[in-house]
Symmetry: C2
Subunit: 147 residues, 2 copies
């Protein structure tokens, strides 16, 4: 499927998948979010992706404004840095991580823990209403509104 196939769908999920739908993209983003900047070879070795495909994915991610290609300070080598658009993907990635932990449990798996920087208390992804009260999934209604 080409990304243009997705683009025809007038749905924000399909639109998100224009940028994220390729097979390795979310793992590249995950790795990019784990440090201030990341190098080509670091990504290639961490993921085991083929080098030419990694090249293409990085070009796409830079074009999409999700990563920035920057020089490493004090050297002429390159690195990739997450943008705000990338940092906002933490919600998506953490939602996936918690689904993965729940539904594909494996004792060898690393656990992803989210805590509050200021207090150290554990935090969770949840639905909240305007008063800040937690709303259980069973009480959430999803509607698609045409523009």
């Amino acid at each position: 499927m080409s990304t243009s196939t997705y683009e025809k769908h007038l749905c924000p999920v399909a639109q998100a998948l224009v940028d994220l739908g390729d097979q390795w993209t979310l793992l590249i983003v995950r790795d990019a979010l784990s440090q201030k900047q990341i190098r080509f070879n670091e990504l290639q070795e961490s993921l085991g992706i083929s080098r030419n495909l990694l090249t293409r994915r990085l070009v796409q991610l830079v074009e999409a404004g999700i990563l920035e290609r920057v020089g490493v300070e004090g050297s002429k080598r390159l690195a990739y840095q997450p943008t705000d658009k990338c940092r906002d993907l933490r919600l998506v990635i953490l939602a996936m991580a918690s689904w993965g932990e729940k539904w594909r449990p494996d004792p060898r798996l690393t656990r992803v823990e989210t805590t509050r920087k200021s207090t150290g208390a554990p935090v969770e992804l949840a639905f909240v209403d305007p008063d800040g009260a937690r709303v259980p999934l069973s009480d959430v209604r999803v509607t698609r509104r045409r523009p």
Copy 2:
């Protein structure tokens, strides 16, 4: 990439992508979640996916326990129904939808609205601490803990 490539990564995000990483899978799940049960032809026409690939994806989703293949009541025709494992993906899909709305805005796009069934109040995805207080993304620390 074969799904087994993902499986080698001991990370819950990679594990989630074993089930979800194929190109059309999340859109199939999105459509499956939009009604009690959905037919093969409905999916094929809604997505524009090729029929033989849809067949393969549905087999995978059933094997993964994300969809169930059921008979339509009062007929011998088939349909696919979301399981609990599938319903838990609403968090992932809604996180993607809100990212898509924010970062790939388009006036023609349908908006996805989440409201509280009981009160009708709008609800949002957010991080909350044990007291139920909302925690801004900038105050969330993510750590990967080895088992």
